[in-house]
Symmetry: C2
């Protein structure tokens, strides 16, 4: 089963959305509208598993903790929301001693402090391999959350920053690329800017690679996309393959009305127009006129 097949199975099973649930399974976050509140709440949860998302020889505790929270915060950013709190579930492996646990929480809480995220609770257990799951709640003005299904033909496609750095960093384990992999910075203030000022029509965070994430945005929006290789903002030293399929860059991918005015930089971060939404086959992305395989990371693809 691919992840999509699995999601189809899950959706066929789950009961209809209850009161207050504005958006369920399928976007970066679920959206919940508390009774009488002017704000919507958005929720996401992400696992970080030993030997799947990290290796203990490569990733010190501080980096595992930072990344465990960063994954969810990046989803919050993609909704144009601000983080409020998180819940941290942690199953400790026998090798994880007191110093490792302390480092894990040091990394996680450093990012929590920087982003105004309260660590409100969690669960603890022991297991053979270390496993962590972090749920994050964010808030956004009522009805204003950015979704992945709002892109329309003619909309311009943008990405923030430079792509492929995280994949390069995991390969070389040094320099700026390693930092990009080890301590990604969720684009929270950019998410708010893109929602409030640029009035984005859709957004997604680049967690699994541009090719797969853009495919998902197009599929949800019932549209196609055309992008140009020469416009791709490739991270210094990375290959175009890493930029297209690398994953874990945690930059924002967003679409704007054709005439939207976009600054070249936002808080020092480059914003690059890489293409346009089309009336093509839903989900189909053309790179320089040729179909681009959604080659990003999918746990459930047989390889």
């Amino acid at each position: 089963m691919s992840e999509l097949d699995l999601l189809r199975l899950i959706r066929s099973r789950v009961p209809p959305l209850g009161p207050g649930i504005v958006l369920g399974i399928g976007d970066d976050c679920a959206i919940f509208r508390p009774r009488g509140s002017r704000e919507d709440l958005v929720f996401t949860t992400d696992m970080v598993l030993e030997d799947v998302h990290f290796r203990r020889q490569t990733h010190p505790g501080e980096i595992v903790g930072w990344r465990a929270l960063a994954r969810g915060l990046s989803d919050i950013a993609a909704m144009g929301a601000q983080p409020r709190f998180c819940l941290v579930s942690l199953a400790l492996a026998p090798w994880a001693d007191d110093a490792w646990v302390d480092a894990f929480y040091r990394g996680l809480t450093r990012l929590a402090r920087m982003t105004g995220t309260t660590v409100a609770g969690g669960d603890l257990a022991r297991a053979e391999k270390l496993a962590c799951d972090v749920a994050v709640c964010g808030s956004v003005p009522r009805g204003k959350a950015l979704r992945r299904d709002g892109a329309r033909p003619g909309d311009a496609i943008y990405v923030s920053g430079r792509l492929g750095g995280a994949a390069l960093g995991l390969e070389t384990r040094s320099g700026a690329a390693w930092n990009k992999h080890a301590t990604p910075e969720p684009r929270l203030s950019l998410g708010v800017f893109v929602r409030e000022r640029l009035r984005a029509t859709a957004a997604l965070d680049l967690s699994d690679g541009l090719s797969l994430d853009l495919h998902r945005l197009c599929l949800a929006s019932g549209a196609g996309a055309e992008i140009a290789g020469r416009d791709m903002p490739v991270f210094a030293g990375a290959t175009i393959e890493q930029a297209l399929h690398g994953g874990e860059d945690y930059e924002l991918l967003f679409t704007l009305r054709p005439r939207a005015k976009v600054p070249e930089l936002y808080e020092g971060l480059r914003l690059t127009r890489i293409g346009v939404i089309t009336e093509g086959t839903p989900g189909l992305v053309l790179l320089d006129g040729r179909p681009l395989e959604a080659g990003g990371y999918d746990h459930f693809r047989s390889r």
Copy 2:
């Protein structure tokens, strides 16, 4: 490190509570107050791990799915709240085929439907061993959530149902005791009754065993407790040891003002007075006059 030591370490690391967070780490749920809302939201998250919380030879997928959600719903019940939605993180082991995954969601969504809980999102991955983490959100009238720190000397201590059944069921794997273990029913309507009608001073769900959970309630409330063995509502066939230390009964433990009037049965469920809160050493529980060791389940105790 014991679980308490670990919690101490975590608390020393986490930043102060941000706006809207009424209660953080340490109770069954965290409490969040959305801006302008008449309701508080309560949040909990619980892991269910292969070979820790279940074994695949013993527990079919449907039971693992049911129990994965039941753990969180029981925490929601203990706050006197009503469930709204859940997020389901699932890491699938190689042995978990399509039929198992389908059964898992069948079990989880059966309980979700019965309790009005929307499955709003989650995360999927593959791992060596199956791991699941379910976060649940509930709602409760503003300021009314039941906590574990409100018990006062003189308050009566009550439990719902009969204790030790889940431990007996795991041992015998048959009959009513097995059902008690396999498909526990979170005491959601009782939780609301206890909060609204009985005006409980404190509550907790019996997840780790009465001896440990009552110790926790007393510690949080800065009080002691005296309970009587002869008053213990022991599940038919279970030992007093299983009733005191067994865990996973998911009944409610609650305290009431001395003169509160309590029906013997609530919706067919027995409510039993088992003792009284005292001015004794905070956290110390006396059973028939002798200190009762907190012998329930603690992942982090060295045994």
